[in-house]
């Protein structure tokens, strides 16, 4: 009698425990976090094996370079390469992999090949904030402006200027971002000479102390202006077009008609009913475009000599600075994954349905 009671108790406890595990696993936040972590692991692994298994193994290339340039004996060159790449070359690949992951978890990304003695991490810390600042600002401005213009176009479909604005948006969205950057630079900076392009180079003027001073803030906006303007121009077209078609679709929905019938104010309908729902598909689009814009920053920052992470990466690519390249690529991916994570949560906040339903992932 009593033993039977105990066994049903443990069974029910087991069930509730299982339920808890299931509930945690199906939780929106947990699922998103797990995916982000998995992505970061996937990319680090991919890069590790790519760099080591490629036909032109950069570590071997570097060792040969040391031998040829400084006529070092093979053993010494090998040791130096190992310390720069922060790996033990004598260990089997599996052990190297584990070591590499452990080092990464400790935040050790190795040292730069071309400027010995400088850790990759330190280089990243000095260059990354500028890219986050300029790309973030550019995307924010273009998203907000694009959503507003797109809604306006959907509401004023009969207006004479509607096809003109739509046409410009369609042209802007099809031209590669670096082409827009080059055109801006050549015409605004060189041909017409409206913009002091040489003074705008770099991420800030030399000699200006960082801090919450008006001079500093003005200066960083001055230097970021051209990259930000390019990001805005190259992404705004697609926001306008998507928001326009999405808003037109939403305007035909029953709940909008019902809201009108209930006599809600037009302002409330526009923001809470039409705007909020029409923006949903755009947030998914924002996810994909973050990665795209950050990737494009390699080219844009090069054009305007803006010293962000993309500029540094392209320099590392041309000088074949592998540890730096590897580290920057990793950091770029991690920041894209993190911003996707944030955007996912924003999406969940906008659209409560995804938080409840299991979804496909």
């Amino acid at each position: 009698m009593s033993s039977a009671a105990v066994s049903t108790l443990t069974v029910s406890r087991k069930i509730s425990l299982w339920k808890w595990v299931k509930r945690i696993a199906s939780n929106y936040v947990v699922r998103m976090l797990a995916r982000a972590l998995f992505t970061i692991w996937f990319v680090t692994t991919l890069i590790f094996f790519l760099v080591r298994l490629m036909p032109s193994n950069p570590i071997e290339v570097y060792i040969n370079e040391l031998i040829v340039q400084y006529s070092l004996p093979y053993e010494q060159a090998r040791d130096q390469a190992a310390s720069l790449f922060a790996i033990d070359l004598n260990a089997p690949l599996s052990k190297q992999y584990v070591d590499y992951m452990v080092q990464l978890l400790h935040g050790n990304l190795g040292e730069s090949l071309r400027s010995p003695g400088t850790s990759v991490w330190k280089i990243i810390i000095t260059f990354l904030p500028w890219t986050i600042f300029s790309v973030g600002l550019g995307l924010l401005i273009s998203f907000l402006l694009g959503v507003l213009i797109g809604m306006l176009l959907a509401y004023r479909r009969q207006a004479l200027w509607e096809p003109i604005v739509s046409g410009i948006a369609s042209i802007l969205s099809s031209i590669p971002n670096y082409i827009i950057g080059i055109v801006l630079l050549v015409y605004l900076g060189v041909y017409w000479g409206i913009i002091p392009i040489n003074q705008m180079r770099g991420s800030r003027s030399p000699g200006i102390q960082p801090g919450f001073t008006w001079v500093f803030i003005k200066d960083i906006f001055f230097h970021a202006a051209m990259p930000v303007f390019t990001y805005v121009l190259s992404t705004i077209g697609s926001w306008i077009l998507s928001m326009k078609s999405s808003t037109i679709g939403t305007l035909g929905e029953d709940y909008v008609t019902v809201a009108r019938a209930r006599g809600l104010s037009e302002g409330r309908i526009t923001t809470a009913y039409v705007g909020r729902n029409a923006m949903l598909p755009l947030i998914t689009q924002l996810l994909i475009s973050i990665g795209f814009v950050v990737g494009g920053s390699i080219l844009i920052e090069n054009i305007f000599v803006y010293q962000g992470i993309g500029y540094r990466l392209s320099a590392a690519l041309t000088t074949r600075d592998y540890p730096l390249m590897q580290g920057i690529f990793l950091i770029i991916t991690i920041s894209v994954v993190l911003s996707n994570l944030i955007a996912d949560f924003v999406y969940g906040w906008f659209d409560p349905r995804v938080r409840v339903a299991g979804g496909e992932g």
Binding site: R35, F38, T39, F42, V43, I47, L50, V51, M54, P55, S56, P58, S170, I171, S173, S174, I175, P176, Y178, I179, I182, V183, L185, V186, G189, V190, Y191, L287, I288, G291, F292, V294, G295, G296, I298, L299, N302, L313, S314, L317, T318, R320, Y322, M325, Q326, I328, F329, I332, T333, V336, V337, N340, E360, G361
Partner: protein, 301 residues
């Protein structure tokens, strides 16, 4: 004479007419969407320029010191570059590389997307879930930096290799849209009817599913082309791909030779920039007409 004997004769006599009529019908459908038709015409213009045009415009190989940054004349409608070479000739000869690579990448990436997407949706189960998850993850990896890093590890000196690499890297986006499309098609009544009538797997795939996916396939083809051009020119601009004689190389040259500091060289840099922008635009616009042709429901008026 028996009707059987007549048949091939009429067939032979009329085939040019039939082809012409086919082209006429295609053009009529294309011209339904004005933007799409303009894009299509520009695209054809580019194709003609890079194929037939090269026969009429001689390739300039020698430098001319007297004509450095010479402004446009009748003889050189786009002016001359930093070595005094005719810019128009470089534009005409520099498109082939890009066109070939874009078409190849479009073909390969569409094939990968269609094959994986339909396979995944038709097989379903764990295979499908795994691929879908992998695609989700793949989409968050910034493509261009990955490509740039790869370009330092692999020598991308031939068009096919670059096209293959670009297609493999961009599989996830196409895969997702094709998979979603096949999933929704699977549920349609006419597919169920065809299954119930036991019309056979091949019949269902080729006569029921594929025709309804053509607009998606056309779109993914043009998308593959535009992203290939973006990536190739970007890599060339960074100096990571050793390709000779194309628009990207022209931009790179104009750039590295300080063209951005001299007003005179505006033609040198703007000519390839305009060519690339116009080419991209023509493909994007053309895709609208293609979408309408393959998806009659979109046709208006």
């Amino acid at each position: 004479m028996t009707p059987q004997a007549l048949m091939p004769k009429t067939g032979i006599r009329y085939w040019p007419g039939r082809v012409l009529r086919g082209i006429g019908r295609f053009l009529k459908l294309m011209s339904r969407n004005k933007t799409g038709f303009v894009g299509f015409l520009i695209f054809i213009g580019f194709v003609l320029m890079t194929t037939v045009g090269t026969l009429f415009v001689p390739e300039v190989t020698s430098a001319d010191i007297n004509a450095i940054y010479a402004p446009p004349t009748w003889e050189h409608p786009l002016g001359n570059d930093s070595q005094g070479k005719d810019i128009l000739s470089q534009i005409v000869h520099g498109g082939r590389d890009i066109l070939e690579m874009a078409l190849l990448t479009g073909l390969i990436s569409t094939f990968i997307g269609v094959a994986l997407g339909s396979l995944s949706a038709l097989v379903g189960g764990g295979f499908d879930a795994f691929l879908a998850m992998l695609a989700d993850i793949w989409l968050t990896i910034p493509q261009f930096p990955l490509l740039a890093v790869l370009a330092t590890l692999i020598k991308l000196d031939n068009t096919l290799l670059l096209a293959l690499l670009l297609s493999v890297l961009s599989w996830a986006g196409l895969y997702r849209s094709i998979r979603a499309q096949v999933y929704s098609l699977k549920e349609r009544d006419y597919i169920e009817a065809a299954t119930a009538l036991d019309l056979g797997m091949w019949h269902i795939i080729f006569s029921e599913v594929l025709p309804n996916m053509l607009s998606y396939i056309a779109i993914s083809f043009t998308f593959g082309m535009t992203s290939a051009i973006y990536a190739q020119v970007g890599l060339v601009f960074l100096g990571l791909v050793p390709l000779t004689r194309n628009w990207g190389v022209m931009i790179n040259l104009a750039w590295t030779q300080g063209a951005i500091f001299f007003k005179d060289s505006v033609y040198f840099i703007m000519a390839p920039v305009t060519a690339i922008a116009l080419f991209q635009l023509s493909i994007v616009w053309m895709s609208r007409s293609l979408e309408e042709i393959f998806n009659p429901r979109l046709r208006t008026g």
